[in-house]
C-alpha cells in the first residue's frame, strides 16, 4: 500500500465517521468505551478496538440495517441496528452472519484468463485490454448481464455505459428472473412502478394474505414483524395461499392449498363474490378506478365497462373456483368476506410465487384489482405489496432502469421524451440512445448460445454480481452451447468461484459490500447508503470502477460513444479545483466519492415519475429514506410512506384523497383488471406426472455463492434435496434420504429425497431449492416466460421421479 493510499483511506474513514457523527438521527455507532476513571483499563474486554458503522444487509430485499463492527481492518461482529425502522434491531441468521461473507478462503483476488482448460492470473491492465478488444470487435454484440445486487451507483454506471456509451440496449439484470412481473403489474395498474404501501402496513394490518409466499424463510424479519405482534397481545390473521406447506404455514390461521397456476381463478373468485354480495367499495371504485381487459401484446390492454367486467367474472363462482384451484368454496367465501369488510385492514404480500409465473403480470394485476375493488387501498395496513428478493432489485433495477427497455427514473427507451432527458443529463448527442429495447435476459442468453451465423448476434456477455450458470432456467439451452462456440466470450465479475466463473473466459475479482461505498433500494422504496469500511482482498475492485475503467480504455482508443458532447470522457469527474480526477486508475478511485457523484447525477432523473430522491448527504444520516423524498420549507427532507394517498403523498392533488397521478388513462384512475384463468404451458401428464417447484431456504441466499461459504449457514443446510409427499414416496418405494432421479423433458437431476422436511408438498408435487451448485435443478426447469415481463416460470413444470439402479452414478445433473 502506498503512503498516498493509506492517507486517502484514513481520510475516507474520517469522512465516514464525521458524516455519521453529525447526523442527528444517526446514533448507532458504538465508540470504544473509555476506561473507568481511576479503575483498571479493561477496554479490551469490551471490544475497545472495534468501531461500528451502519450498512444495509447484503442479502435480501427486506433492507435491514446492520451495525458492522470493524477491528484492525477486518469485520469482527454484526449487530441488528436498533435505529433502523425496517428491522428494529432484529436480523435473521443470514444477516447476523453477513460479516463472514467477506472471508471465505477462496476469494477471487486477481483477474483470470482462460487458456485451454485452465484459468491463469493476468493483470488488470491486460484484462481491460481484452475486454476493450471484445467491445471494439462489435459494440452491438457486447452485452451486460447485471443484477439486483448491483448497488445503485454501479447499476447507474453500467446503464450509462451501455445505453449512453455503447449506444445499444443489451443490458438486462438477473432481476428479470425475479420481479419483472411485479413491475409490469404495477405499470399496468397504476402507470408507475413500485408499491404504494410500505412495511409499516405490517404493524397495523388485521389480515395479512400471503400469495404463494413464505416470508418465514425468505423475508424472516418481515415475518417476525408480523407474528411478533401476537406476543405483544395484538391479533393478526395470517392467510397462507400456497402450493405446499412451509414454516410460514405453521404460523397461519388458514392454509389455502391451491393447484399451481390457479391463483388467477382464486383472485377472480374473490372479485366475483365482492360484486355478487355487493360488498365492493362502490365509492372508491367510481372515484378512482377504471376497468381493463387483456389485448394481445398490449401491456395496457383495453378498457371495459363495469357491466363487461361483471360479465367476465360471472363464471368464477366459488364452486367453479374450487373445481379449478382445489381451494374449498368456503375458503373463497372467507376471503371475499374479509375483503368485503372495510373495517378490516388487509395487506397482501407476494414475491416469487406470483412473479415467476407465465401469467405473472396477469396475477399481479388481479391482486391489485381485488384491493382496489374492495377499497382496501391507501390506508395504513391496506395495501397490495410485492416483496423483492435482492437488496437492490428496486433501487438499482427498477429505479435506475438497468432493464433492456428502461432508462433511469422510470423512463423507457421507446419514448423520445425520455431518451432526450437522458441524453441531456448525460450530455451526449441527440440520437445516442437507441429507440429499440435490447434483449431481455432469456433472449440475451439465447442469442449468446446461438452461433453468429444463425442469428446469435451477442458475442460477449459481461456478467456482474450474479451467477447465471446456476440460476437461468434450462441451462442446457441457454448457457451450455455458448461454451462450445469459440466466437463467444464470457466475462464474469464476482467475489468467489461460481458455476459461472468456472466456465468463463475472463474472470474479474470484485470488491463486495462494505469493501466499497454503496447504495441499495429495498422493497418499500427505501434508498440506503453505506461507506467502505474495510479493504477488498488482493486486487479485487469495485464493480463500478470496472465499468468506468473499461469505458476509459474505449475512450482512449477513440470509441466515439465514450465521449460526451464536449469531447470529455463519459464519466468525467472533476475535483474541487475543476481538474479531472483519474477515477479509471484504481489508485485514485477513492480520491473523490464516486458513488456520491454518480448518485447526484442519477438523482436528476428521479423527479420525472415522482420518485424524488434526496441529496446523498441525507442518506448518510438516515437508515434509508422512502421515496418520494421531498424538501420541506424548513430545508429538511421528508420521506413518503403511503403513495397516492393525500394523507402522506405530497404529489396528490389536494382534496382528491386518492390520486393515481401516473394513471395509464391519464385521468387519475387506477385500472382494475380482468384476466382469465388459463392452463399453464406445461402440466403433469402420464409421462411426467409430478409438479416441480423450485425456490429458496432460510439459510441460503439465491445460488449460495456467499452463504455456502459461511459455516453456520452451510452446516445448518449443507445440501439441496427434493421434498416429496410421504405417500408418493411409499408408492414408488422411495425411502427418506435416498437419491432419486428427477427428470423433465429438458434434463435430469439426481438428488436425495427429504420427506416431511422443511416444507411439505401435497401428493403429486415436488420442491427443490436451487442454492446447491452440485445439484443444479435448473437443468430441469422450464424457460417459458410471461409475455409482458419476460420473466421465466421457475415454479412449475412437469417432471417424473425414478429410483436409481444400484449402479447409478453419484448425484448431480445430466443432460436430457
Amino acid at each position: 500500500m502506498t503512503p498516498d493510499r493509506r492517507e486517502f483511506l484514513a481520510m475516507t474513514a474520517l469522512a465516514a465517521a464525521s458524516a455519521a457523527a453529525t447526523a442527528a438521527t444517526a446514533h448507532a455507532g458504538s465508540p470504544p468505551p473509555t476506561a473507568v476513571p481511576g479503575g483498571p483499563d479493561l477496554r479490551g474486554r469490551m471490544g475497545a478496538g472495534v468501531t461500528w458503522n451502519k450498512a444495509p444487509c447484503r442479502f435480501c430485499g427486506t433492507g435491514c440495517h446492520v451495525q458492522v463492527g470493524v477491528d484492525a481492518g477486518k469485520v469482527v461482529a454484526i449487530a441488528g441496528d436498533t435505529a433502523a425502522e425496517v428491522n428494529k434491531g432484529l436480523l435473521c441468521v443470514k444477516g447476523y452472519h453477513v460479516g463472514l461473507a467477506l472471508y471465505g478462503a477462496d476469494r477471487l483476488t486477481t483477474p483470470l484468463l482462460r487458456k485451454g482448460d485452465r484459468q491463469v492470473p493476468i493483470s488488470w491492465e491486460e484484462a481491460l485490454r481484452i475486454l476493450a478488444d471484445r467491445a471494439m470487435l462489435d459494440p452491438k454484440g457486447f452485452a451486460v448481464y447485471g443484477s439486483g445486487q448491483w448497488t445503485i451507483p454501479e447499476g447507474y454506471a453500467a446503464n450509462k455505459f451501455v445505453k449512453g456509451g455503447l449506444g445499444h440496449n443489451h443490458i438486462d439484470p438477473n432481476a428479470r428472473l425475479c420481479m419483472a412481473s411485479a413491475v409490469t403489474g404495477y405499470l399496468a395498474t397504476y402507470g408507475v412502478d413500485e408499491p404504494a404501501g410500505c412495511f409499516d402496513d405490517l404493524d397495523v394490518a388485521d389480515v395479512v394474505i400471503l400469495w404463494g409466499n413464505s416470508p418465514a424463510e425468505m423475508h424472516p424479519v418481515l415475518f417476525s414483524r408480523i407474528v411478533d405482534r401476537r406476543a405483544r397481545g395484538q391479533s393478526v390473521t395470517i392467510i397462507d395461499i400456497g402450493t405446499r406447506r412451509t414454516r410460514t404455514t405453521a404460523h397461519a390461521q388458514h392454509f389455502l392449498q391451491f393447484k399451481p397456476n390457479t391463483d388467477l381463478a382464486i383472485a377472480n373468485g374473490i372479485a366475483h363474490l365482492l360484486l355478487k354480495n355487493g360488498t365492493w367499495d362502490r365509492t372508491f371504485v367510481e372515484k378512482h378506478c377504471s376497468f381493463r381487459q387483456p389485448l394481445e401484446k398490449e401491456l395496457n390492454g383495453k378498457g371495459m365497462t363495469f357491466a363487461e367486467y361483471e360479465a367476465a367474472l360471472a363464471p368464477y363462482t366459488p364452486a367453479y373456483v374450487e373445481q379449478i384451484s382445489g381451494v374449498p368454496a368456503k375458503d373463497i367465501r372467507m376471503l371475499a368476506d374479509l375483503f368485503g369488510n372495510r373495517d378490516l385492514r388487509i395487506t397482501s404480500l407476494w414475491c416469487m410465487g406470483m412473479n415467476q409465473h407465465t401469467r405473472g403480470t396477469a396475477i399481479n394485476c388481479l391482486v391489485h384489482g381485488v384491493h382496489l375493488l374492495s377499497g382496501h387501498f391507501g390506508r395504513p395496513g391496506d395495501a397490495p405489496t410485492s416483496l423483492t428478493g435482492q437488496p437492490s432489485a428496486c433501487g438499482t433495477v427498477r429505479e435506475v432502469g438497468t432493464l433492456s427497455h428502461a432508462l433511469p427514473g422510470g423512463g423507457v427507451v421507446t419514448k423520445e421524451k425520455h431518451r432526450h432527458m437522458a441524453e441531456e443529463i448525460w450530455n451526449v448527442p441527440t440520437g445516442r440512445i437507441l429507440d429499440k429495447p435490447g434483449y431481455h435476459a432469456v433472449e440475451m442468453w439465447k442469442r449468446f448460445s446461438t452461433p453468429k451465423a444463425d442469428g446469435g448476434d451477442i458475442h460477449t456477455v459481461w456478467v456482474q454480481v450474479t451467477n447465471p450458470a446456476q440460476t437461468l432456467p434450462n441451462l442446457h439451452a441457454l448457457v451450455d452451447p455458448s461454451r462450445k462456440d469459440p466466437e463467444k466470450f464470457l466475462v464474469v465479475s464476482d467475489v468467489y468461484p461460481t458455476a459461472t466463473t468456472r466456465i468463463a473466459d475472463l474472470v474479474l475479482p470484485s470488491a463486495m459490500w462494505v469493501e466499497k461505498n454503496g447504495m441499495f433500494g429495498n422493497s418499500e422504496r427505501r434508498t440506503q447508503q453505506w461507506f467502505k469500511l474495510v479493504e477488498p482482498p488482493g486486487q479485487a475492485r469495485d464493480d463500478a470502477w470496472q465499468i468506468v475503467a473499461l469505458a476509459y480504455e474505449l475512450y482512449r482508443r477513440g470509441h466515439a460513444g465514450m465521449k460526451d458532447k464536449d469531447g470529455r470522457f463519459l464519466f468525467h469527474m472533476a475535483d474541487a479545483k475543476g481538474a479531472a480526477v483519474p477515477i479509471w486508475d484504481f489508485r485514485h478511485y477513492y480520491d473523490i466519492n464516486v458513488d456520491e457523484r454518480l448518485f447526484e447525477e442519477y438523482r436528476k432523473f428521479s423527479t420525472m415519475k415522482h420518485k424524488n430522491l434526496a441529496p446523498y448527504s441525507e442518506y448518510v444520516k438516515a437508515r434509508g429514506l422512502r421515496w418520494p423524498v421531498v424538501e420541506q420549507e424548513d430545508g429538511t427532507w421528508r420521506e413518503t410512506r403511503w403513495r397516492f394517498s393525500e394523507s402522506d403523498d405530497p404529489f396528490v392533488t389536494p382534496g382528491k384523497g386518492i390520486d393515481f397521478y401516473h394513471s395509464t388513462t391519464e385521468d387519475g384512475r387506477a385500472q382494475i383488471w380482468f384476466n382469465p384463468y388459463e392452463a399453464p404451458p406445461e402440466s403433469p401428464d402420464a409421462a411426467y406426472p409430478f409438479w416441480l417447484c423450485t425456490g429458496r431456504v432460510l439459510e441460503h441466499w439465491h445460488s449460495g455463492t456467499i452463504t455456502g461459504r459461511i459455516p453456520p449457514l452451510r452446516d445448518a443446510m449443507p445440501q439441496a434435496y427434493v421434498e416429496m409427499h410421504r405417500e408418493d414416496a411409499r408408492k414408488l418405494g422411495i425411502t427418506n434420504g435416498e437419491t432419486v432421479r428427477v427428470e423433465s423433458r429438458r434434463g435430469t437431476l439426481d438428488i436425495p429425497v427429504w420427506i416431511d422436511g422443511r416444507g411439505s408438498p401435497p401428493q403429486g408435487s415436488l420442491f427443490v431449492p436451487f442454492f446447491d451448485e452440485r445439484l443444479p435443478i435448473n437443468n430441469v426447469t422450464l424457460e417459458a416466460y410471461d409475455p409482458f415481463s419476460k420473466q421465466p416460470d421457475y415454479k412449475k413444470c412437469a417432471v417424473r421421479v425414478a429410483r436409481l439402479s444400484p449402479n447409478a452414478a453419484a448425484p448431480g445433473g445430466k443432460a436430457g
Binding site: V36, G80, Y96, L100, P220, F223, D228, R247, R758
Partner: protein, 252 residues
Amino acid sequence: MDGSGALRVFLAVVCGVALIGFLRGTTVTDDDLDDTTTQGADVGAAAVDGVSPARSYRELRDSPRGEGSGWAADLDALAALGPDVTDAVSLEGVSKSADLAARASRRAYDGAPPRIPHAVRQDAAPECLTCHEDGLRFRGLLATPMSHTSYTSCTQCHVVDEAPMPGGADLPPDPRAVENTFVGLASPTAGPRAWAVAPPQIPHRTWMREECDSCHGVNGRDALRSTHPARANCEQCHAASATIDQRPGVAR
C-alpha cells in the same frame, strides 16, 4: 400407588424423555433409519403403560409428526427440581475460561445468535419455549433460558449445527465448503469495576440480552452465574453501557 409415587414415576418418564433427547439419538443407528417411510404410522402409537415411548431427536428429525406435547407442558415439574434463586451459589471449582469457551463455540462472534446443539422440527415453529423459557438443568445438561421471548420465530436466527436432512452421503464435496478466515469479536471476560469490590459494569450489549437471568441466573452456565440470583433488579447496581447499546444521543 399413591399420589407421590405416581408423580415420581411420571417424573422419571419425563426425565427419561428429556435425557434421551439431550443425548441426541445416540442410541439410534443409521440402520434404524433405513425405511422411514413406514415410520409415520408408528409415531405416538406404541404406548407402554399409557406413556408414549421416548423418541430421539434423530427420529424427530426424520419423522417429526406427532411430537408429544402432553409431556412437554409438564416439564415445569422437572424445572422445579432445579436450583432455586435462594440456594447458595458456589463458584468453587468452576472454570470461567472453559465455560466461556463452551459458550463461544456456539457463536460466530460475541453477540451472534447461538446455534442449536440438537435437532429441531424443520417444518414448523419449534416448541423452543418448552425448555428454554425458564431454562432447565438436568444431570449436567443445560437448557439455558432465552432472553427475548417476545420474538417467536426462533429458527429465523437460531439454526442447527448439523445436517437436518438425511441422505447425501454420496454427493461430491461442496466446492464452497472452504475455510472461512473470519475472526469474531471475543466475549468479554468481565465488566470493568471502579474499584476492587465495586459492582462491575455490564461489558456487553443488553439489546435482546436484557434478561440477565438468561446467562447469569440459576440456569446459566456455571461460571457466568451470579452469586446473588435472588436480587432481581440487576441494573440497580450493574450499569449498562450506552455506547455499546447503540442508545440514541451517543455521538460517534
